[in-house]
Symmetry: C2
DNA sequence: CCCATTTTTAATCATTTGATTAAAAAACTT
DNA sequence: AAGTTTTTTAATCAAATGATTAAAAATGGG
């Protein structure tokens, strides 16, 4: 059991412990293929260890998965909740920070969104509750600012649309990447570049969306059909 | 086998044949939980039939899944490719039609996007190729119009960003629905209403995005911090 | 009503898969 | 070096799962 005489426990801190190797293999496969499609034997093979070691270090496949899921969620949340602490930031600054954080994080771990959407679908509410709790501060800051701004007439956009737009424009490209890249016909490098461009484009768009049709835009003459180009 | 004397084959066309019931149960479970997480026994149970019947009608779990996947893709593509045939439509009209088609379809079958993203991830290229082929006409029309418009200086937006925005704003809310709904705290009815609103909002936003920063917008004075409200 | 065909069922198989066990190997302490 | 603890391995178990089979039931035609 885990309750022996824990007197001698040096823990030499090797450069890559087997426990870590298992976790990394598990993270890779679970994140990529999901819980059901991942076999413990695949994890063992990718980690280069004996199958029994998986159960030795992490009680069961489920426990291991729960661990990975928790860590993935933390990575995800950490990537986007850094920005809320500064009280001094303006609404616009906050938006810029959030978009950059999203895109930077997802450039590092592009599989995360699909993983989270999949594991959130079953809606065990344990997860979504946690997610919601963690996200609450962010929501408060942004929403309050938006709601006030709406009330004062400076903007006019439901929080729902605002969040859907913000996250949609930042996250969706990573979700749809396999299809998008095929349809458009671009390389990985080009995709990365486009996402970098988006770090400045999305905030601009988002801000433009804050003041919908009726506020600024006349019924239809948005772009004159043939204004003198160049 | 399937090669008997097919002399007598009346096919009375019952109101709900077992074959159909199996397929419906399979569609439901496969679409909701994916291939690996779905057990043939679950399908049998939900269809209210003996397990062996699944293999009697559809050779194997894999064959049945392939069928469902194919049909799902067709439903998806059909839902968004109706609009490309009209040569007379303007760019703006096309956008409006596409957004409405997307949102209407996904209101009916909200599970489709996640299913497709999941099954596209493995990238067996068989699927993505088919998807790409089917999507090609749509791409041609829209992209050509956009590219021309870009060249003539009326707009200034990479096709990648355009598609990512269009699809992202239309599809993402359905993908993120479980999380979004929790974060914002809205009911199912409210969500549906928001998506209905989006049928008019998204096209407006998309059109506004066609002329990015440098074209119309001065460096920063987008919204004066305290313009006289109301 | 009898026969041929189709459909359905219960029982069973073979493989996969998560997990355990007992023993061996390695690491560490004294 | 001996003893103790930790780590690793090979073998095996038990349950789950996709699939098959042989027989029974239902269906339809003459």
């Amino acid at each position: 059991m885990a309750k022996t005489t824990r007197s001698t426990k040096p823990k030499p801190a090797k450069e890559s412990t087997t426990e870590e190797r298992i976790k990394e293999a598990a993270r890779h496969l679970f994140t990529q293929k999901g819980f059901a499609a991942t076999r413990t034997r695949d994890i063992a093979e990718e980690a280069g260890i004996n199958l029994a070691l998986l159960n030795y270090y992490f009680r069961s496949k489920q426990k291991l998965f729960d661990l990975i899921m928790l860590e993935n969620f933390q990575v995800f949340l950490k990537g986007i909740t850094i920005n809320l602490s500064d009280e001094t930031m303006t609404f616009d600054q906050r938006i810029e920070k959030i978009v950059i954080a999203y895109i930077d994080m997802l450039t590092r771990v592009p599989d995360l969104p699909l993983f989270i959407l999949n594991e959130t679908r079953g809606n065990p509410s344990k997860i979504t509750t946690r997610l919601n709790t963690q996200l609450a501060p962010m929501r408060r800051h942004l929403f309050d600012q938006l709601i006030i701004s709406n009330k004062e007439g400076r903007t006019n956009l439901e929080p729902f649309h605002f969040v859907a737009n913000l996250v949609g424009l930042s996250v969706f490209p990573f979700l749809g990447r396999p299809i998008l890249q095929r349809v458009i016909g671009i390389t990985d490098t080009q995709f990365d570049q486009f996402m970098q461009d988006r770090k400045t484009l999305v905030p601009i768009w988002i801000k433009a969306m804050l003041t919908p049709p009726n506020t600024l835009t006349p019924p239809n003459p948005r772009i004159p059909p043939h204004s003198t180009p160049k």
